[in-house]
Structure formats: C-alpha cells, structure tokens
Point group: C2
C-alpha cells in the first residue's frame, strides 16, 4: 500500500481519536489499532504524538479554509459571497465534525497547536474583514462605517471587530448545530445540507441584515445607548 494511503489512514484514525479524547488522553496504541497498522509504523511516518496531532490540526484546518474559499466567487456581491462562504463553512463542519473538534476545541489549549489553530482563525477573520470592506465600497455613497472611534484606523478597527463578531457567531452556531442536529429521517448528507442552509440563513438574518443596516449608515441608536449613570 502506498505511503500516502497509509498516512491518510493514520490521520483519519488520529482525528477520530483526538476528537473524542483530546490530546493528552489519546493513545498511540489506539490510533494505530484503528488505522489498522502497527504502532512502529505510525512513529516511522509521523514521528511522535505531537507531530501527529500537528499534522491533524494542519490537515483539518486547511480543509475547512479550502472548502470555504472554494465556495465563494469573489466576483459576486459581498452578501452573496458571505452567504456562499457561510454555507460552505456549515456544510464542511457538519460533514467533518471530528476535524472541527480537533482544531477548534482540542488544539485550543495546547501550544504549539493553539498557535496553528489561531492562524486559521485569523485567515477567516481577514477574509470576512475584506468582505466588509468590499460591502462598504458597494455602499460608499452612505459614508464611512459608523461606530467609535473615527478616522482611518478606527474604521479599520471597527471592520475587524465586526469580522471577529461574525466569525465567533459562526463558530458558536456550528458547534451548537453539531450537538443539536435533528435529522428527522433524512440521510446524513441531506441532514448536513439542510442544517448548513438553516445555519447560514440564521447567520445572514442575524449578521447581514445587521451589517446591512450599519453599512447603509443606520447603526443601532437609541436612548438606551447612553451609559446608565
């Protein structure tokens, strides 16, 4: 069997075991057993538990980012790009729940994995920040992004803050959808697609209708916005 195929088997098994048990508790014995190979072969190919986990984080995070970018056509209007990107994001996490668990949850508290996982998250925030700027250019007649502080730096900062909020909302909704999927007699594929569409629609209602108002110069303003005292 070619090395690439063997390695894929090992990584597939490792992602399942790391997702279920976390980095510390996972055993190389179990990963080798599930991959149907000997433990020495796992060490020969992947060197150590740390390198194996790193390879899992790398593979799964790259797969998600690739799926999101493939789903988006940059020639489309910004809201369509966001919708397409969100659907790809929710579909990919629904179809790869173990991959999502490894790099979103399991990698989070162990260096150097946390840094690698944070890098992918930054890429997503940058992607959304760029979308917000694009949407803003589409709405340029309405003037600058509202929100403190003013000036070019403040505007950039507000775009990044909005992108951080949007990415956090999507992450949260993805995690919830994974624990709450109601398949109702659908096949796994149908359930993933239906769930991804629902989650993406929720996000667009929540985030875009909000961002849309904001970009058109209608921020949330109410007496309520004054400090309490």
């Amino acid at each position: 069997m070619p090395r690439a195929v063997r390695e894929k088997q090992m990584l597939d098994a490792a992602v399942r075991v790391f997702a279920a048990q976390g980095y510390q508790a996972a055993s190389m014995d179990e990963i080798a057993r599930r991959a149907g190979v000997s433990k020495p072969l796992v060490y020969l190919y992947l060197h150590s538990k740390e390198e194996l986990f790193s390879a899992c984080v790398e593979r799964e995070s790259r797969a998600l980012m690739t799926a999101v970018l493939r789903g988006v056509d940059v020639r489309q209007p910004a809201d369509r790009q966001l919708w397409d990107g969100l659907r790809s994001f929710f579909l990919h996490t629904a179809e790869h729940p173990d991959g999502w668990a490894v790099f979103h949850t399991r990698a989070r508290t162990h260096e150097p994995f946390a840094t690698a996982a944070a890098k992918v998250r930054e890429d997503m925030v940058s992607f959304v920040t760029a979308l917000i700027h694009a949407a803003h250019r589409e709405q340029a007649q309405h003037g600058p992004l509202p929100g403190p502080p003013a000036g070019a730096e403040g505007k950039e900062r507000e775009a990044v803050a909005l992108a951080q909020a949007l990415v956090g909302a999507a992450e949260s909704l993805a995690g919830w959808a994974l624990t709450d999927s109601r398949t109702g007699g659908m096949s796994a594929d149908q359930a993933s697609a239906t769930g991804a569409n629902q989650a993406a629609a929720t996000m667009m209602n929540f985030a875009w209708a909000g961002l849309g108002n904001l970009l058109e110069g209608r921020p949330w303003t109410a007496a309520a916005a004054q400090p309490t005292g």
Copy 2:
C-alpha cells in the same frame, strides 16, 4: 488570618497560574508560592489540583454571570437590556482577563471542567434567548420570527440559534479586545470602560440592528439566498 481570606489568596493565585499555563502545566508549588502559603495548606483547604481548578472555574464563571445579571434591569426594553448586559460582560472580562481565560479557554478541553464551563455558557444563551422572545413580543404585531422551519418548535429553535450566534460573537469580541486593547495613555480602569463601551456598541450595531430588522419582519432576502446549483 481567617480561612476565607487564605482561600481567596489561593484562588487568586491559582486563577493567575492556570490562566497563564493551563491545567496540566500549572504546578501546585507555584500556586502556593504566589499565594504566600505552604503547599500542604493548599491541599488542606482545596484537597487536590482538580478541586482547586474546579473551584476557580466555579468562582470565575459565577462572577461573570452575576456581573451580567446585575447590569441588567429586566423592566427595561429588550434592546436596552442587551446593551446593558453586553457592557457588563465586556467590562467584566476586561477587568478579569485571567478569570475569563480559565473558564472560557483553559476549562474547555478537560472534563469535568468543560461541563461546568458549558453550563455557564448555556445560562447566557438562555438569558439571550429570553431577551429575543421578549423583543419579539414587543414587536408582536409583525408576526412570527422569520426563518426556517416554521411552527412553534421552529420558532423556538430559531431564537436559540440566534442566541447562540450572539453569545459566540460576544465571546469572540471579548477575546479579541483582550489581546488588542489600546490604552493610549488611559488608566487601566478607563481603558476597560472605554473598550467595553466600544465592544458593546459594535455588538449592538452588528447584532441588534440585525435582529431588529429580523424581528420587524425584514430578514435578509436576496436572490443570493438561492442555492448555487
């Protein structure tokens, strides 16, 4: 010195050390040293590293939830409640970054702590879900929450999904604000208050202006919402 004072010193030191190093890497020696007590006294009072960490998660998560609930006056309109709750949330996390790190990040991948941390998060989601229902009642003339699927169960599910998105957005923004605070010559207190106001304003623009549209029966609808094919 009274036991309660000693225990507080130990927990304060433990929160700092667990936040910086995580559960596995933190040493009881260092926690005792920073608390200015002997290691046997830490074990006498808190019994084990696991119980000490649990006590930290419990204390810090309860403090955040208490701060948020104290900041909110339930007789106010829903958007004012959300604004006040968000400001309290961002102010508390800015003032207690180590507490936030312990129960939001460090507790996340270790059972049984992950379950305890998830419980607090559920409380926040419930709080926001209730706010969304309250806001919806305020807007009741506009009919039911848009979004699939229809029916009472679908409506409840959509409210929870929106609450999940909102809590995730706030968590993400809090984490970002902690790493990105620009104090610009302000005192720590001023910087916390200013940052909390900015983060809460961003969230209201992002989430409420969006939810506001949604609750008034104007979901995001565009040709873009059709599947790509």
